[in-house]
Every structure is written in structure tokens, then in C-alpha cells.
């Protein structure tokens, strides 16, 4: 729109200029590009529509109880999303807990501490880590990480905490197989580190160098520059970057399906297997019929809603700082 009016403006500066005849290929090109842009909107509307349309029978059947019920019984056709919701939130939370400090550390290292010759190799490594398909993380998690985790963490920790109050429950592995909620959280953390680190690095790079330099100039240490200059300047958009990572952790399917254990019950222990919304859809969708299919669609609907909110929040937070 603006471009066209600009064109008209240029032309109307001298009305004696002969205008090129309006060619139909020009209109066609414009319409094609406008149509493609609209297609992006239609796809999102389609995703929302298909989730709601597919999940509606389940929501109608179980009402609000669908969210709060932890029963998932294919034989009796009773479905509730609670176990999967809790699993999704717990794994994503563990991923953030481990992933955020590490990725912020990497971002600070890359922008403040790293000698220039090392900058490019480290940045490239981190970016390549982001390109590795999630199924590879899943395989590595299941075949390499899980056995080591069972041997060196689950079994010793279970022995130490056995019988203790609280810790004896939440850190006790009944079957130390290596897979479970905590393993899934750790694998997710490894997966979101490159995303958060590279976005956070870009944000820290955008802080005007003059602010940093003047802080160093009055004798601040690197820690003080990070704490009192970078953090107030970039804090909000860093939270946006973290939200972006959270969005990925919530929706990640394959890596989690490999290592979460796919158990269908709620357990108080982080070492026990569980399931997430995405892993349950991946596991059951192809064999599902009737109400089970609708229930899985309803799960997808909930997942979409949660990630949508998180992503919108992330975008708003990152955009706010760019405006400033």
C-alpha cells in the first residue's frame, strides 16, 4: 500500500509525465504476493480451527473435568489431560531451570569475555547445536545419557534419600531405568540452550557499546557491568528470549517421547516416567479412533493455547525493548 502511494507521489510531482499504462502483470504480481501473505494468516486460523473442531467432542463430553481429571483409560473411553499437562509443565520448568543459567552464561561469555579469535568458532558451534534434528537428541538421550544417568545419578541418589521425608519421595526411583521426567527435562535443557543463547547474544550485542565503555571507564568490573548496565538495559528482552525457549520446550515432541517413559500415571518422583501432551499425541494418535482421537485433538488444543500465549508474550517483551 505504502509503496504504491510512494510511486504515485513520485509520478505526481510533474503531471506532464506520461504514466506507464497499468499492466495486468503488475496487478497479478501484487495479488500473488498479497495472497501468499494472507495464506500465512489462513494457515494459523486453520491450525486453531482444526484443533477446536477436532477437540470439541471431547470438551463437550467431559467439560472442564477434561483438564482436571488424571484418568486416561482407553478401555473405558475415559479421558483426562491432567497427567500430560503436569508432565509438560514439569519437564519445561526443569529445562528452564537448567537451561537458562547455562545459556545466559554462554551469551555473556560470547559478548563480554570471549577473546575475538574464539568468538566465531563458539558461536558457530552453538548455532549448529540448534540445527541438529530433535530425534538425534532423543536417540542420544535414550541410548547414551539414560543408562549413565541411571547408573551414576538415579541409583546413588535413591540409596541416599531412601526413607527420608519428602526427598525420599520426590527423588526416589522405583525402577532406575534412566528415563523419566527429570531425564526429559535435562534433554530439553540441552535442546533449548542454543536457542536462548543465540537470541540473548543478539540482544546483548544491541546494547549501545558506549554504555558499557563508560561503565568500564569509571572502573567497573565485568560483573558490575553485567549486573548494573546490561541487565537493566536488556533484562526485559532477555525474558522474551527465555519465553521463546519455553515455547520450544513445551511443544518439543520427539526427543521427549524417547526419554520421558510414556507412563500414564501421576508420580510424585522426578525420576519416575511420565508423559507430556506432545509425547502422548505422538504415541497414541495413529492408533486412536472415536473419542480417543477427539481427546488427543483436545490435548493439542490445550498445547496450542499454552504455547500461543507464551510466544505472544515473548514477542511483546522482545518488541518492547526494540521500540525503546
Amino acid at each position: 500500500m505504502v509503496a504504491v502511494s510512494q510511486q504515485q507521489l513520485v509520478m505526481s510531482m510533474d503531471t506532464s509525465i506520461r504514466r506507464a499504462p497499468k499492466s495486468s502483470s503488475d496487478t497479478l504480481f501484487r495479488l500473488a504476493s498479497f495472497g501468499s501473505a494472507l495464506l500465512v494468516l489462513i494457515v494459523l486460523a486453520g491450525i486453531i480451527g482444526s484443533m477446536i473442531w477436532g477437540g470439541l467432542p471431547a470438551f463437550r463430553e467431559f467439560g472442564l473435568g477434561f483438564i482436571t481429571s488424571s484418568v486416561w483409560d482407553v478401555q473405558r473411553d475415559q479421558y483426562g489431560a491432567w497427567v500430560a499437562i503436569v508432565g509438560t509443565l514439569t519437564t519445561a520448568f526443569i529445562a528452564l531451570l537448567i537451561g537458562v543459567p547455562i545459556s545466559l552464561g554462554i551469551a555473556i561469555f560470547l559478548t563480554q569475555l570471549c577473546p575475538p579469535w574464539l568468538k566465531r568458532p563458539v558461536a558457530t558451534t552453538i548455532e549448529l547445536l540448534a540445527a541438529v534434528p530433535s530425534i538425534i537428541y532423543g536417540m542420544w538421550g535414550l541410548f547414551v545419557f539414560a543408562p549413565l544417568f541411571a547408573k551414576f545419578v538415579q541409583i546413588p541418589v535413591s540409596q541416599i534419600v531412601e526413607g527420608l521425608p519428602i526427598f525420599g519421595t520426590i527423588l526416589y526411583a522405583r525402577v532406575p531405568s534412566g528415563v523419566g521426567i527429570l531425564t526429559a527435562g535435562i534433554i530439553l535443557a540441552i535442546m533449548i540452550i542454543p536457542f536462548i543463547a543465540s537470541v540473548a547474544r543478539d540482544i546483548l550485542d544491541q546494547v549501545p557499546p558506549i554504555l558499557r565503555e563508560s561503565a568500564y571507564g569509571i572502573g567497573c568490573t565485568t560483573w558490575e557491568v553485567v549486573r548494573h548496565v546490561l541487565l537493566p538495559q536488556a533484562g526485559v528482552s532477555i525474558i522474551g528470549a527465555i519465553m521463546l525457549g519455553l515455547g520450544r520446550a513445551l511443544g518439543e515432541t520427539m526427543a521427549v517421547t524417547f526419554v520421558v517413559g510414556n507412563a500414564n500415571r501421576l508420580s510424585a518422583s522426578f525420576f519416575d516416567p511420565g508423559s507430556t501432551i506432545a509425547s502422548r499425541i505422538a504415541n497414541e494418535f495413529n492408533e486412536a479412533i472415536g473419542l480417543q482421537l477427539n481427546a488427543l485433538m483436545a490435548l493439542g488444543c490445550i498445547l496450542f493455547l499454552v504455547t500461543f500465549l507464551v510466544l505472544v508474550l515473548a514477542r511483546l517483551l522482545i518488541a518492547r525493548v526494540k521500540v525503546n
Binding site: I106, L113, V132, P133, Y137, T253
Partner: protein, 296 residues
Amino acid sequence: MDTALQASSTAPAPWGRVRRSRYVADKTLRIVCTIFTGIGAIALGWILLMLLYQGLTALSPAVFANTTPGPMTQGGGIINAITGSLILTFLGIVVATPVGIMAGTYLAEYGKGSKLASVIRFVNDILLAAPSILIGLFVYTLMVQPMGGYSGWAGGVALAIIAVPVIVRTTEDMLRLVPGSLREAGVALGAPMSVVIRSISWRAARSGMVTGVLLATARIAGETAPLLFTALNNNFWFRADLMGGVSNLPVMIYQFALSPYQNWRELAWAGALVITLSILALSVVARLLFKKDSVR
């Protein structure tokens, strides 16, 4: 300037009379950040080395000559999965490239700051990060249910939906780097908008746009979740019209890795190595291409 500052802050002399707590806090930050970066690098190294070791052990000429084996049969290869993956990725990128480039062009050249353009930009960012399994569910309702079965076409469309936002984003970013004076020069010559875009903006931004398409290809080549409910998988050669399950590497890896058969698992590692190396090669090529251009 920057390096001189860092050099002076690491040199021992300026520390002279600094409160011990400040010194400790600073040192802690430096050490912790370095360790964290090390952890990130070690994680990637560990994953890649493990993949190389397991993949190379499983790799043999037979892997590229035979189709996937049935249960309890020895040997076999993954040639049908490799072919299927190539076809699905190609389908996805062929659908996504024109749509993505045209949409990106709209945002950069026509829409710019308008309300509609900012909404589309926002929605595109959401799609860029939306869980890929939901795109699989969407295409399942859109194509698999009406067509009455899994098909390679549905798989291609699902991959295209994942690729489009990547291409839209890079195309727009690249077109915005093209100086406005170039366009004005074109308009001054009397060229209509579409000609200005095609022969000036696109030409100036070409290598950046190609990079975007390559990155999108790398992104969809390893996607598993959207294929689970669309192309599914196939242990044999798929039909020429791509109806029914179409074998592909990611879902093959998923099914074979979780199977109890030793040779299936080995084939999964071989497939994982093939797919990861191709994706890493693609992203490195894309980066080199872009770097060459930005230097010029």
C-alpha cells in the same frame, strides 16, 4: 577499542586496591560463564562423536543398496527411506519457496508498516516457533482424513507449512537491506512496481534469499513429528503416486530406534548419521553463502 578495554580489565595492575568482594564476584562470573560455554561445547561434541561412532559402525554399502528389512530379517538398508525423505523435503520446499518468497516480498515491499503487514509478521513469528506436532495434526484433518489415508502429499504439505515462515522471515529481512535509492532509480526509469521488485530488489537480495531457502530445507529435512500422522512410514518401496505411507528417514529412525531388533537399531544410527551430516552440511553451506555476500 573493545579489546583494549577487556585487555586492561584483565591485566593485574588495575586491580590494585579493589575490594575483595568485587574481585571475587567478577572472577566468579568469568569462571562460571566459561564453564557454561564449555558445557555447551562438550554436549555438542559428545552427541556428534557418539553419532559418528555408532553411525560409522552401522554404515556399509549395503545400507545404501537395500530397502528396510522386515522384523527378524537380517541385513537390509535404508535406501527407500533416503529416497522418500528426499522426495518429501523436495515437495515441501517446492511448495514453500514461492509462497514464502511472495509473502516476504509483500511484507517488505507492499505492506511495510501497515496494520495488516504487522499482523502477518506477528503471526509468522508465531508459526515459526509453533510446535511442529500440531502442524501434523492440522494436516491430518486437512488432507489425511478427507483423502482417506496417509500420503506423501500430506507429508510434503506439512513440511511446507514449517518451511514457509522461515523463508518469509529471511526474505523480508534481506529485502529490507536493499537500499531504497535502488528502487527509486528503477521507478524513475518508469518501471512498474513488479518489475522493480523482480529485477532490482530480488536481484540485490538474491544470495540472502537463497540462504533462507537452504536454511528452511535444513530445518524440514529432520522434522519427525509432522510426518508421523501425514506420510507415516513404509518398510517397502512406496507407490509412485505417493499415496499410502511413504518411507522417510526421520520416522524410520524413530520406529527402528525403539524396536527390539539389533539390526533395526543399527540402521537407525546409520540413518541418523546420514540425516545429521546432510543437515549440518546444508547449514554450513547456507552460512558460507551468506558470509561471502555480506563481505562483498
